[in-house]
């Protein structure tokens, strides 16, 4: 067996001898994914500012380019030419390293998201470019979804080290908050993905997309809506977006973990944050909404392009939802954030995972469906009652001891 192919992932194009055409296609994919990532981020910043301005009855960016489209480019150029400050008490190496630790994982997630493909008439998403069958995604490693989790856990370091290496109190507070928040919500994130993996029966992202061939098979429907809601909330907290943006609560922390950063290093954090929003929307669409799988055939457009159109449409919906949440929801208090994560999301995702596993086992073993449902409902109610009693008792204990929250 050829070891090189396993290192490069499961894309059929990487199997066999690597000759010039496949190599060029892979290079082309790398460049396209990179450029799409940057351009999409640029447009996302504009979109967010414009949408929030609209919701706040303001005009928003309107000077640079048509409808202010080039505003982000102008801001980026400005950031490049600003003075790059290095605080006196900063840990120089870590201070310089941190922005890249935040930026690179955000970019790498793009590599495993299926960006299109031919799913019309039950095809499996393979397209043919220059006589070679390939997938419209940069890499399709066998551990697909786990790579997403691994990258999101690496992204914690960027924020944590940025705050610490600044050598100042407010950034440190911001980064301690951030890492506690991200580590807490990672558990809920992983457990809600587990339900999807349970149904899809594979970890690879292309396999998960291939499994959702009709609307009833979309995981948002077939897992019940609960894992999707949990994933959405946990992902918002993981990205530190409002209403969970305690990391950069500017009223309390000056600017949060990136207070001491200036110039393009700040720009990299900024870019990473917005890119994370887009990639997370892409991940949500991939896991729960069928990725490039369409609801119906768009007439007159070849199947291979249709997938990308569906994907972009779905991702745009989620981008709008994120902007909407930012414009309308007030920030959580820190104890509320931790309560939501540990006392609601993690037990709920664990319980729902068990429920789905039992239902699946019941179907495989031909158990009485009604009986399984009744027993499951009773067990769930019992667990909820136990959990809420435990929370109430511990709260009463804390109040007796005189704690604030």
């Amino acid at each position: 067996m050829n070891n090189t192919t396993a290192l490069l992932g499961l894309d059929p194009i990487a199997i066999g001898d690597l000759i010039w055409t496949p190599l060029l296609i892979i290079l082309l994919k790398v460049v396209v994914v990179f450029v799409i990532g940057l351009v999409a981020t640029m447009l996302m910043v504009w979109f967010e500012r414009k949408a929030i301005a609209g919701m706040g009855n303001r005009i928003g960016p309107n000077k640079a380019g048509p409808w202010g489209l080039l505003q982000t480019l102008a801001d980026g150029i400005k950031l490049f030419f600003k003075e790059d400050l290095l605080p006196d008490r900063a840990d120089r190496f870590v201070f310089k390293l941190a922005p890249y630790l935040a930026f690179v994982p955000a970019f790498l997630v793009w590599a495993v998201i299926p960006l299109g493909g031919d799913f019309s008439d039950g095809k499996d998403g393979l397209v043919t470019w220059f006589g070679h069958a390939t997938r419209v995604q940069l890499a399709d490693p066998p551990i697909g979804v786990l790579l997403l989790l691994a990258l999101s856990s690496v992204a914690v370091y960027g924020i944590m080290l940025a705050g610490w290496s600044s050598g100042s109190k407010y950034p440190l507070l911001g980064s301690v908050r951030a890492s506690a928040q991200m580590v807490s919500y990672e558990a809920a994130l992983g457990l809600s993905i587990a339900t999807v993996i349970l149904l899809a029966g594979t970890l690879s992202t292309s396999g998960i997309v291939g499994h959702q061939s009709s609307f009833a098979d979309w995981h948002v429907v077939s897992t019940g809506v609960i894992p999707f809601i949990i994933f959405m909330l946990a992902a918002t907290a993981e990205m530190n977006r409002p209403p969970f943006d305690l990391v950069e609560a500017e009223q309390e922390l000056v600017g949060g973990f990136n207070t001491e950063y200036s110039s393009i290093r700040f720009g990299l954090f900024f870019l990473a944050e917005f890119m994370n929003t887009i990639t997370m929307s892409g991940v949500i669409v991939t896991l729960f909404f069928g990725g490039p799988q369409g609801l119906f055939d768009i007439p007159g457009i070849p199947g291979a392009i249709e997938g990308s159109i569906w994907l972009i449409a779905k991702v745009l919906v989620f981008l709008y939802i994120y902007v909407w949440m930012r414009a309308t929801l007030p920030r959580f208090r820190y104890d509320q954030l931790m309560d939501l994560g540990w006392k609601i999301l993690i037990p709920a995702s664990l319980g729902w995972f068990m429920l789905m596993a039992v239902l699946r086992l019941g179907r495989d073993k031909d158990w009485n469906a009604g009986l399984v449902a009744i027993v499951a409902a009773v067990v769930i109610l019992g667990c909820v009652a136990l959990m809420s009693t435990a929370v109430k008792v511990s709260k009463a204990n804390r109040e007796r001891e005189g704690a604030m929250f």
């Binding site: 290192l7 790579l147 980064s175 970890l203 396999g207």
Partner: protein, 180 residues
């Protein structure tokens, strides 16, 4: 290809490992540990143990070292320590003895069981290209099948540790009225 990957990953592991021991700054030492863990993850990928590589990064680099850093930052011990002074006198000679002993044992084990490893290893190889999930399937068969008791006992051990920690850090409630 395999040799290049091995040399690079081994260099990562060694540089990281030396960094953990030699860097005088706790945070830098923790970062070196991450480098080592990533090197091991690369080794796993090169051996086609993709699942182990992902778990290595998620659990060790993503959770455990984050908690190390967390503790270092919260306790405020994040300043350079002089590694010339020694808190316990016997520690260093003992560490050298144990280190040499482990190296000797591992080398002896590998040399002694070279033939056995080679023959057994060919038996478990399942083509990963035909079935991308074979890694996970084999792991779960042994964890939840052959070794399910050991697995459950380990999880009980972890729960005991967590409960113990919570109990140890709690104040005694009955005296709280008088102390206030």
């Amino acid at each position: 290809m395999e040799l290049v990957v091995f040399v690079l990953a081994a260099a990562m592991i060694l540089v990281g490992g030396l960094g953990v021991v030699l860097r005088s700054h706790p945070v830098h030492a923790a970062l070196s540990l991450i480098l080592t863990l990533f090197g091991v993850a690369v080794m796993f990928v090169a051996q086609e143990a993709h699942f182990l590589a992902a778990v290595q990064v998620i659990v060790y680099a993503g959770a455990i070292v984050v908690l190390f850093l967390f503790v270092i930052m919260l306790l405020g011990v994040d300043r350079t320590e002089d590694i010339k002074t020694e808190p316990f006198k016997v520690q260093r000679p003992l560490a050298i003895i144990v280190g040499l002993g482990v190296i000797g044992l591992v080398t002896a084990a590998v040399v002694a069981s070279r033939d056995v490893v080679a023959t057994r290893g060919s038996g478990i190889a399942e083509p990963a290209m035909t079935d991308p999930d074979s890694n996970i399937r084999q792991l779960s068969r042994s964890v939840f099948g052959d070794y399910v008791v050991a697995f459950e006992v380990t999880s009980v051990l972890l729960v005991v540790a967590v409960v113990g920690t919570v109990l140890l850090t709690r104040k005694v409630k009955s005296t709280s009225k008088e102390s206030q």
